[in-house]
């Protein structure tokens, strides 16, 4: 676990308007208002943080991995990436990234896909899509609203041949991403419980989520 890293003069712990620790394997959601800055911190390092965003005023508008990839012409997420909705609008802009590599092509683990990927013996393991369904159900949504997500700090290289695999994350304890909200968004996280691949070093760990008001 790392110490708090200050990225701007005003971005101190006492000025954060939200400060959440999210246990290993747990789901989480909160509202981030337009103009606020969200930090997602990989507190112990090498933890995949599966993340979805919904327009807080209209959940039918939500994160779209294809629109985000198309708009930036690249498969990975990093500083400068605009997070695009299924309506083609900018939801958030990624303003800081101490890690440099985040996936949005490989989606979330599920009990069902784990049976295909790792064998039927892995069916009864905690999985991200179950976390997502439980969390979005608190907001009146269901499985059909769980769309392809961002995996912050997950390393999924795609080769020119198309070959893709999940390899060890490169994030160190305390690595963070910061995103400025361009609209009011519902943030939904599954702090990935996957122990069958190296997305979290086979050892899911807690993370931290902070929110600051915009600078005047």
């Amino acid at each position: 676990m790392s110490d708090f890293i200050q990225t701007a003069p005003s971005r101190t712990l006492d000025k954060a308007v939200q400060d959440h620790f999210i246990a290993a394997e747990a789901p989480f959601s909160t509202i981030v208002r337009k103009g606020q800055t969200l930090r997602i911190e990989d507190s112990y390092g090498q933890q995949a943080i599966d993340t979805l965003f919904y327009n807080a005023g209209d959940y039918s508008e939500r994160y779209s991995n294809q629109d985000t990839m198309r708009e930036q012409g690249a498969a990975y997420i990093t500083a400068g990436t605009r997070i695009i909705s299924n309506e083609g609008r900018v939801m958030l802009t990624m303003t800081a990234d101490s890690c440099g590599r985040h996936d949005t092509s490989a989606g979330a683990c599920s009990c069902e896909s784990n049976t295909v990927r790792f064998g039927h013996g892995t069916k009864y393991l905690h999985a991200c899509r179950d976390n997502f369904v439980l969390e979005v159900s608190k907001h009146g949504m269901g499985k059909r609203d769980v769309v392809p997500n961002i995996n912050f700090f997950m390393n999924v290289p795609i080769e020119p041949s198309g070959e893709m695999t999940i390899v060890d994350g490169i994030s160190a304890p305390g690595d963070y991403v910061e995103l400025k909200a361009e609209m009011d968004v519902l943030l939904v996280i599954s702090n990935c419980p996957q122990i069958n691949n190296p997305c979290n070093g086979f050892d899911p760990t807690p993370i931290r989520v902070l929110v600051w008001d915009g600078e005047a």
Partner: protein, 272 residues
């Protein structure tokens, strides 16, 4: 915050299991998968043709398809990329899931011998023939904004086409999954940038998708956002629905990889 870590032995055991599994996944497929299907496309026995639809450039179409039937999607009148989405006809919350499709098969390059998964760990389609191996699982189709930036206003786009066809099937914009675009030769370079690889395409390309469950399938015939042609010029695309035929015990798509075998076990269980 208190956190109990897993033991080093437990982590090492899981890592060893994954590395073994990864080796098999990455090494097995190139050995098992066949060459692209031959061109020109062989004729279809007219007795097996259930329906043939020609989608004009810019337009959409959706159809029901039953388990075992095959859709031939063919470029009989020139080049056009065409985007596809699908739902389980009996339970539309189950739908095309490209992130699982690429992840569980260790590749973003769909080609003959591969399968296409739903979000419930079941196989929706088998790719039983494919002459190009050049399809886009990542970027999706066009939108009003992507068209306007490239061609100007007022041209049909895949996002709006999918809203139209979903709504006519009684579904909602929330139900539109990420789309597979056929005949879009997209590859990713070392930095993650997308490139259009025209050398992967041929005149008269076609693909056969065999339905592995009863589905509603939607198509949008619009240019891919990375199509280098500066003019909006989608050609008509022919979709032929072919009657179900017996499936051999050693069917390529059902046996090509351990992942496909397990996916079909999930299909079989759902059909009991």
């Amino acid at each position: 915050m208190q956190h109990l870590r897993r033991s080093p032995e437990e982590i090492a055991a899981n890592r060893a299991r994954y590395e073994d599994h990864q080796r098999k996944g990455l090494e097995f497929a190139p050995k098992a998968l066949p060459a692209p299907s031959p061109l020109p496309a062989p004729p279809i026995d007219p007795a097996l043709v259930l329906h043939r639809e020609t989608l004009p450039g810019g337009w959409y179409w959706s159809t029901r398809v039953k388990t075992g039937e095959t859709l031939r999607i063919a470029q009989e009148q020139g080049f056009s990329a065409i985007s596809l989405i699908a739902w389980n006809a009996a339970e539309t919350s189950e739908r095309l899931n490209l992130v699982d499709t690429v992840k569980v098969q260790w590749t973003t390059a769909l080609s003959k011998g591969r399968v296409i998964f739903s979000d419930m760990g079941r196989v929706m389609f088998s790719v039983t023939e494919d002459s190009s191996g050049a399809h886009d699982c990542l970027m999706g189709g066009s939108t009003a904004a992507s068209n306007e930036a490239k061609y100007g206003q007022g041209l049909r786009n895949s996002r709006d086409n999918f809203i139209l066809l979903a709504t006519k099937a009684g579904l909602d914009r929330r139900d539109i999954p990420a789309a597979l675009t056929l005949f879009a030769p997209i590859r990713v370079d070392a930095d993650g940038k997308f490139a259009w690889k025209p050398e992967l395409l041929h005149d008269g390309d076609y693909i056969h998708l065999r339905a592995e469950m009863d589905m509603i399938v939607g198509f949008s015939n619009c240019p891919h956002p990375l199509d280098p042609n500066p003019h909006y010029a989608p050609k008509p695309v022919t979709v032929t629905r072919i009657a179900a035929q017996p499936i051999a015990e050693d069917d390529l798509c059902r046996t090509a990889t351990a992942e496909a075998v397990r996916g079909f076990e999930n299909n079989a269980f759902a059909n009991l």
